[in-house]
Symmetry: C2
Subunit: 98 residues, 2 copies
């Protein structure tokens, strides 16, 4: 059983498409830099549901140790440095998935 980490973001008012593009660029580098990542997907809300968040990240790792390795990796922390100033709200969870 692998571990799946989910984070949903809601951007603050005034966050621009260019700022979101920088988030995507920062996240897009991580699979090549963090060996603990077995799978990684992220993207902007498609606007087809009610009351949705604005952006999602799904990280698949082997176990809790691999999750900690991802979470604490300097490149992930650098990406969080891009994301955090833009956040109005964040929802997250970790669960076991096949």
């Amino acid at each position: 059983m692998a571990l799946r980490h989910i984070a949903l973001f809601r951007w603050s008012e005034g966050v621009t498409p260019a700022q979101i593009a920088r988030v995507e660029e920062a996240l897009g580098r991580l699979p090549g830099l963090i060996p603990a990542l077995d799978g990684y997907s992220f993207g902007r809300d498609l606007g087809i549901g009610p009351d949705t968040y604005d952006f999602a990240v799904v990280a698949d790792v082997a176990d809790e140790d691999a999750f900690a390795a991802y979470r604490d990796h300097p490149e992930h922390q650098a990406a969080l440095g891009v994301i955090r100033p833009l956040l109005a709200d964040r929802a997250s969870m970790q669960f076991r998935a096949d």
Copy 2:
């Protein structure tokens, strides 16, 4: 590019493990009943992160039509009938994922 739907739940105070087990039973039937589902994972929060939600569902489908087929399927609606009375909060999003 496929579509990934994410829903995070926070249970109301007093929701019991038996009630959550009924949610898991209802969701576990859906991949066998809803052809639009290409992938489906769900589970309880592992308690390893701060301020997490309690339960997650990730549904992978081909496109927006397949998402609508899943969302509106009577068996999914029946599962929502089990889930909704237990919810204190819900966070969701749909995005394009490889």
